[in-house]
Amino acid sequence: MLWYNHSDLPLNVGGDYALYVWGAVVVVVVLVAAEQVLLTIRRNSILEYLGGSR
């Protein structure tokens, strides 16, 4: 049913994984901020184009 059986895997947890955890936060924040910046650029360029073509 499942293509991968988790129970066969060594559960290699423990130690300090702060880099991975905070890395995930950074990835989320950066991508979300990038989307908002791109949206602002798109909106401004549309307004500039429509303003110029009137």
Binding site: L9, N12, V13, G15, V21, G23, E35, L39, L47, L50
Partner: protein
């Protein structure tokens, strides 16, 4: 009219029939509403994500020093929202196709990039969790594969909108693609339920001692991501409407006012 009083609910039905339901869906009204609501939803998103991250990362206690499981507070809500946005996008696209409503198709078009972002985030966070836990960045788990398929369907919809010169034709094709990909959503939910059943509870749940904090944090993050998805889609619908409304009086008036 006196006869109407004898029929229960007749006056309400008459009122509903007489009111113009489509007045609220006029482009300039939707545009003005989207512009007003987007910052409110963004604020709600920031608030909820702030609370969720604080509770998930600093309050919820783990059974041991397995800090890596805190990534579930980003991974699970991102996966939820990517699935939910896909259903909403398909509903808008299908209704646009059915009733030939351009605004509905534009809504679907505005949701697709944000849905793809959440799908990508769900995959990225899973990779970051997978390497330290299982020693592999990627493995062909059914849930991960479903999320990857969902990302491909989102990308297909975006590519159709970006690559076709006729937006109405692109809208119709996008509706077809999104409807055909809808099967991924129940399949993904089913695979998650199957995996949880196999392990006697969800992976994250087993690692947290304080389940109440974990659930509140997860809910707050889910609501935050959902609010962000709405805010971002509303911002994008304004761009799409301005692009397609070129030459229309309301769009010209808006540009003049800027």
């Amino acid at each position: 009219m006196a006869a109407l009083d004898k029929i229960p609910g007749a006056r309400v039905l008459l009122l509903v029939g007489n009111s113009n339901w489509f007045e609220g869906s006029l482009p300039w009204r939707v545009f003005a509403l989207a512009e007003k609501l987007a910052p409110i939803f963004m604020l709600v998103a920031l608030l909820c994500c702030g609370i969720g991250l604080y509770m998930g990362f600093f309050t919820a206690s783990l059974t041991s020093h397995e800090a890596i499981y805190r990534i579930v507070f980003l991974h699970v809500p991102a996966a939820w929202v990517s699935l939910l946005l896909y259903v909403v996008m398909t509903a808008w696209a299908a209704s646009g196709l059915l009733w030939q409503e351009r605004l509905n198709a534009m809504m679907a078009c505005a949701i697709a990039p944000t849905g793809a972002l959440f799908s990508f985030l769900a995959l990225c966070t899973d990779l970051l969790m997978g390497k330290p836990i299982w020693g592999e960045w990627w493995f062909w788990d059914a849930r991960l594969t479903m999320e990857l398929l969902l990302l491909f369907f989102y990308l297909g919809c975006i590519a159709l909108q970006a690559g076709m010169s006729d937006p109405h034709c692109a809208d119709r094709l996008m509706a077809g693609v999104s409807i055909s990909g809808l099967l991924v959503v129940p399949l993904a939910c089913w695979f998650v339920a199957q995996t949880d059943m196999q392990h006697g509870g969800s992976w994250g749940e087993a690692k947290f001692t304080d389940l109440e904090s974990r659930n509140v944090a997860m809910l707050a993050m889910g609501l935050g991501f959902w609010a962000y998805g709405i805010a971002s889609s509303l911002r994008r619908i304004c761009c799409v409407m301005l692009e397609r409304g070129r030459g229309m009086a309301w769009a010209d008036d808006y540009v003049k006012g800027q």
